[in-house]
Symmetry: C4
Amino acid sequence: MDDDILREKLATSTRILAMQGVLGLFGHVSIFDRDTQRVFISPGFGSDKATTGARDVLVCDLAGKIVDGKGRLPIEWPIHTTLHGARADAVSIAHLHSPYATLYAIAKREFRPVTLQGTLFADGVPLYTQPQLIKEIPQGNRLVELIGSKRGALLRGHGVVVIGKSIEETVYASLILEDDSRKAMQAAALGELNTFDPDECREFGASDSLERRAERAWGYLQKVEARWDRQPGTGQGFLA
Amino acid sequence: MDDDILREKLATSTRILAMQGVLGLFGHVSIFDRDTQRVFISPGFGSDKATTGARDVLVCDLAGKIVDGKGRLPIEWPIHTTLHGARADAVSIAHLHSPYATLYAIAKREFRPVTLQGTLFADGVPLYTQPQLIKEIPQGNRLVELIGSKRGALLRGHGVVVIGKSIEETVYASLILEDDSRKAMQAAALGELNTFDPDECREFGASDSLERRAERAWGYLQKVEARWDRQPGTGQGFLA
Amino acid sequence: MDDDILREKLATSTRILAMQGVLGLFGHVSIFDRDTQRVFISPGFGSDKATTGARDVLVCDLAGKIVDGKGRLPIEWPIHTTLHGARADAVSIAHLHSPYATLYAIAKREFRPVTLQGTLFADGVPLYTQPQLIKEIPQGNRLVELIGSKRGALLRGHGVVVIGKSIEETVYASLILEDDSRKAMQAAALGELNTFDPDECREFGASDSLERRAERAWGYLQKVEARWDRQPGTGQGFLA
Amino acid sequence: MDDDILREKLATSTRILAMQGVLGLFGHVSIFDRDTQRVFISPGFGSDKATTGARDVLVCDLAGKIVDGKGRLPIEWPIHTTLHGARADAVSIAHLHSPYATLYAIAKREFRPVTLQGTLFADGVPLYTQPQLIKEIPQGNRLVELIGSKRGALLRGHGVVVIGKSIEETVYASLILEDDSRKAMQAAALGELNTFDPDECREFGASDSLERRAERAWGYLQKVEARWDRQPGTGQGFLA
């Protein structure tokens, strides 16, 4: 993909995640251009994510040096660079402060999917327990090790990291994780949760159809975002 | 009813359910024209339900073959065709991913109504436990058998199915089920739930006045939907 | 007050309560003109409460006979007529399906105030347990007896009734009851509730300053309602 | 800072807190001009906070006498004057009825931070237990004593008080407290809360970077507020 398309897609994903209420003040998203080893990343703390455009995208190398764009990198840029560098399938990475998924980074309870779509996270979402932001490369490396081949991680009292083979996949998986977490939290008021065990997850095969699903969800979200009125609280629907 | 009216009603019901936040990305609604054995169905995954118009409605036969309209049937079309074919009173069917009703498809707790209007579901809402989408006719047949003469079913970790004698009834019953479920979930934080037992349900007679109530609710929802600004999060009122 | 003012005030209160999400499809509000023994009442089930105007107000006598205005009385008109007739201080009455206050009509837990403003309901809110709408005068009489000199009642699995010496008081007390109930429900997730005991309630003296507070809240709500965009989900702030 | 800037900043902070749903009908914010011993304060109960402008700001002395501006002081003005007078670092004070933070003033559970940003409140938030508004200077003095060197207090069944070295700090800390409280309440449904202990709080060093963070958050919130449509329920995003 050429740079302009990458910038546009990254800006769109930022506005979509802002619309859905999972990005807000602190989060950021990235796409890795493996050929040139450059990371395209959305602006961090302080920028208005709901109005992010291609012009706001920053480009850095794997050492966190800005090679294109004006402004500061998000302080937690090592989340992106270390994961992009370490995993061939980590093309796009979101760091979110999703209100519901983050609850698993607060309550003493391991994430297990409770929705069919949530079985995408069949292998679980490990918890990064160190009570610090990930501002240094060694911290990023510890996160890489913790995640292994999984789809993401929970950051204690802080937020989540979601990994995808494309920006569409990352956006879709991020919203699925949020929806599953919200439903788990709310259903827990009614009774014990009926989670999906690994066999059931495998049988459902959420990963098999992920590319197709993610693209269709992207098409839907793009249409909705285009007509969003950009108020802080009006875009927070779920995938329901 | 002629085809144009069916298409308009189906599109309106789709927008109403989208407005109320129970349809979103995945759900779909259908009306059966028994005379011609055709199923009118709203578009599935990927379309923007809040802007659905008569032009977007698809028409298929009971075998899932499109006979009119452009696009793909929702992947779970057998939910509609098998129920329409099997039950004379199943004129309209909604498959929803309602955020609150779905909680009963996650928590280990049987649905029992806690609101007077919810006694419409006096016979309960059985749970379809197989962790798969309903993409094949045999799965639809299993759903038909599970539901029997009841008003709907819960799909484990997935969503709900609601059946009505008219589109007005289906929309009304869907929203009542959602409202009852939300109140149950929230009241559970305050104490044990005081559910309505079968005798109390019968005495209240929710089914007797259903047609009249559903029509008046439709009139109300139609008016509100017509002035809805179509933002993802601004239409989510309940019947409160 | 002359009839036109009564009609305007009733319409305004209806839109305010709709804006705050406590009225919706089913609720209604009334003002009693004691001199002429007429009840001014907002339209019921099926009308769009967010757009109610003075022209939509109905006037009936204490026997439920319409003496002015076009349309049907709300089916539960005896809630209003019996209370207006029985209590000299019941000048204005709201029947609401408030989402949070109604939780006390579902959970097995007695209402006790948890907020300073909620001490207005120091004497409690008794529960009408019969699982029926209040469509007949004898049912209304039972409600009158149940309430005694209290400020309102909970209707099992259904909603609430709130009584005031003026429409301003009824609106204010209705929103306070809702806010107190919401906070109780949510705080219960964090730990045991610290309710206010009768002595503490008396000391705070919520009733003493009620008239003044209700008028100022009315002024505030009137201003906010006037600039409300009338979307179903955009007006649901609390008194926070 | 000159008076006009103080007025503008105070009005902006009022609109920001109203947008985020933590101010509403009852709350107020102040800035202290130590040189002239004057308190700039936003209007109280009854004014429409979402439209507050510099013209609405009142100025009083530490005895609660208005020295500039038209209108009434908020009835709880002693919260501001006693704290401003007693603590050199109390430059700006917010009294809020934040829906989630107030839950700790209702449930029998002490506040302990569960989010990294929430470690700002590492020293806890003490509870003012007297069930009365703070309308007199002696009550304010008791509050001063209770708070000591902490960042704020909970007022039983009522609301919160937050103190900052600048208006930016007070706004930021207020929203962090609200976000932490909301997440605690919701996570409690999933399991036991994993709070941060004093050592972890110290290590994270939330206070060290507070000035910089507060300024950037202010920049963000100011931009969002400027494009807010001023509906009661559309601004209620969190810092997510």
